[in-house]
Symmetry: C2
Subunit: 450 residues, 2 copies
């Protein structure tokens, strides 16, 4: 069940804004989920979005801020005073509030923080701001339920009730010592079925998964997925419990990571969407195209070396795009499998064995494709038999070369801490184009002797 | 904090298996998380994996089954009798149990089901088996906590305690009427702070998100993400509450969907991993390569049409790979952005407007790249000025054409219910190769008049 935003609905809202009909607008938006209102606002003109934001119930405006597209949120935040922003942030969990503060211009940050009403909340938010955004510290929230190992069950239940008020979803109760160091966790069931005088130290579970503040966010995502956790505690350098990461934060990371690899494979260098401005799309697309163009120039030069053969062996030149394309395709396949394997942490074992496997695979596939090529070029197209043989051998060589390069480069990049996804897409197709042409004509020269 | 599986550790386990040293093996594996044991088993020989499975504590074997790689799980299941499999399934949630039964050979399915001890559990599993695996019905579990709207709070709490025993994570309490139709949900807080005699109908929240049994799994994932839900109830054709989907199931779907698009874009036609057998990898890779090869033949033929021009304008042929590659790159970029937009449901508005936008974008980018091309080819390479102009105009045309095709095809495929990701990768590069060459030489012929 989902509210579907229709074009008519948007137009109706736009009409009501023009008529300045607040009552009608309020009643129209009353029963709509904040995520849907955010989507509607994304579709409106900036001034209209601000108008809608201002008439909304203050209970949901903070949530809406979180759901808006970046540009729309920026517009709204610009229209609000530091005090108004602080009021919104007071409604939010620490991690979400910190994310919004991080987006503010430097000058406004301190102002907003000083306007926060709840001092504890403000302290927690400031705490979060010092962590790198791609680490556990950067994605964790300070909201959690923790109890001291020296308490008894009764104190515990009382304290928990109090703490749980600020926590949307409890997930787990963490046990700490007097120094706030994480000792274990507690199941709600055990707590409710044990005598109220029992000390916590007798009932808590000493085994607890955790991550450190500086653990990379993708690593946190991987651990939570692997162990099927809905929340994981985060500890600092002194083993103190400082926050927890919940599963909804992880979903965004998993999606972003997958989207990023996909975009890199397609030659898009930053996170863009179809609805972004032409300028932003150009910024994301043009860099790789320029690189590919210069790669193309190299291929022109390389091909130029063999131009003298054109007179005697014109046919050879007809096959250049085919050879180059096949090299590109095979290279992309190999590198994609490796990049995905690296992302899922399944690439283990020696590089040498992996190259041997890829060699066998490409030898088999290449031999099959080369056989098709000989048959088609000779019997169907009627090309000279020598040409058929030459092109086939070149195709086989290029396929083997491209698949080895496609396997080798991502693994090596990863070893040196560079994102292996960079090695997919235009990079691999362009370099395989160049090498493919070079290999092709070198083999042709060796066989046909021009 | 994660257990790292080292090569040495695997070798130690292999050694203990050879010595048949069960005691040592048991103590070694005792404190290891089942997800890690599953990973270890994935790395062992089949006979060794079976050996380890058999000495493990029966409490964790069912969980391990879920975590194993498909082939290893198949091996283990083949080594177990129907009764033994049923015993494992009795430990699992209905959705996981149904997934495993679905993987069994037809003959064993009925046997295993008849051996299930808990009749209610068996009925639920059989129920789940009839849903398409890519729908809400196919991914939901029957385990949930529900109460009747006519009960009072006291009855409710009693019933809930009983039901919650079978539910790992409660998430939400659903409210149904006498016909089991979903009416709303209940917050645990309200339940605990209301007088025990209050009827449920006075306290429950009538607004509840839900999906239907036949809602597509990717749609369920989208809704849960959008509304930030950790669980969503599933209703059948008669609005009866029949199950619920939890967030951990959704993570797998989000990941699978992203991986699938990525693999299609790379010309890989089925879900494979780097560690799959050469045969499986070939099955996933060869089909697209064969298609690309036949696309290559067409490019040979098209280029052949213009062969007579080779004598007079040899230089033109040196640029063929460059033009083809640029067309491919631009086409992949455009289609990738559209495919991702379609996956995220952000492609709205008219196709015409989108093509106009893409046209403007590619006109800008193309003009920039063409300008570079003229300058480099004339001043750096010293090619004839006419050639530079010709190739530049061709490059601009090919870029515009490729980006329009890259935008148009995925949207049209999606409209007809075909996966738009099919239009990325080798498909778009190959067709752009062919069209690129055709456009290039047609323009050259018009300008240079050969």
């Amino acid at each position: 069940m989902e509210f579907k935003i229709s074009k008519e609905f948007i137009e109706k809202i736009e009409g009501l804004i023009q008529q300045n009909n607040i009552t009608e607008l309020e009643s129209l938006l009353q029963d709509i989920h904040f995520a849907d209102i955010a989507e509607i606002m994304n579709d409106l003109e900036p001034s209209q979005a601000i108008y809608v934001f201002n008439i909304l119930n203050s209970e949901i405006t903070a949530e809406i801020l979180l759901e808006l597209d970046d540009e729309v949120r920026e517009t709204i935040l610009r229209s609000l005073s530091a005090k108004e922003i602080a009021e919104e942030l007071d409604e939010l969990d620490t991690d979400d509030a910190a994310d919004i503060i991080a987006e503010l211009p430097q000058s406004k940050k301190a102002q907003v923080i000083s306007e926060l009403e709840d001092v504890e909340h403000a302290k927690d938010i400031v705490d979060l701001l010092r962590y790198d955004e791609n680490t556990a510290g950067g994605i964790m929230a300070k909201e959690l339920v923790k109890v001291n190992e020296n308490w008894n069950v009764l104190t515990c239940v009382k304290e928990m009730r109090h703490q749980a008020e600020n926590v949307t979803r409890v997930h787990s109760i963490y046990v700490v010592d007097d120094e706030d160091r994480l000792k274990g966790r507690l199941s709600l069931k055990d707590l409710l079925t044990t005598s109220t005088k029992t000390p916590i130290s007798d009932v808590y579970i000493k085994k607890v998964d955790y991550v450190r503040v500086d653990t990379k966010d993708v690593e946190v995502a991987r651990i939570m997925q692997k162990y099927d956790l809905e929340a994981i505690p985060v500890i600092d350098e002194l083993d103190r419990l400082v926050g927890r990461v919940t599963i909804d934060d992880i979903i965004d990371i998993i999606k972003e990571e997958a989207d990023k690899d996909y975009q890199l494979a397609a030659g898009i260098s930053q996170d863009v969407e179809a609805d972004d401005s032409i300028l932003e799309l150009t910024k994301a697309r043009l860099p790789w195209l320029v690189l590919a163009l210069f790669g193309g120039f190299i291929s022109v030069r390389v091909l130029g070396i063999f131009e003298p053969a054109m007179e005697k062996h014109a046919t050879l030149f007809l096959f250049t795009p085919l050879i180059a394309a096949m090299g590109g395709n095979v290279g992309v396949q190999s590198s994609a499998i490796i990049v995905q394997g690296l992302a899922n942490n399944t690439i283990t074992g020696s590089l040498f064995n992996r190259l041997i496997k890829e060699f066998s695979l490409s030898l088999m596939n290449g031999a099959f494709l080369s056989a098709i090529l000989i048959i088609v070029s000779h019997f169907l197209f009627g090309f000279d038999y020598n040409i058929g043989i030459t092109v086939s051998i070149a195709l086989l060589s290029v396929i083997i070369f491209a698949s080895l390069i496609g396997t080798f480069i991502p693994i090596v990049l990863d070893k040196y801490g560079i994102d292996p996804a960079l090695a997919t897409g235009p990079f691999i197709t362009t370099s395989n184009d160049i090498m493919g042409i070079l290999i092709y004509f070198s083999i042709a020269k060796a066989i046909l002797g021009f």
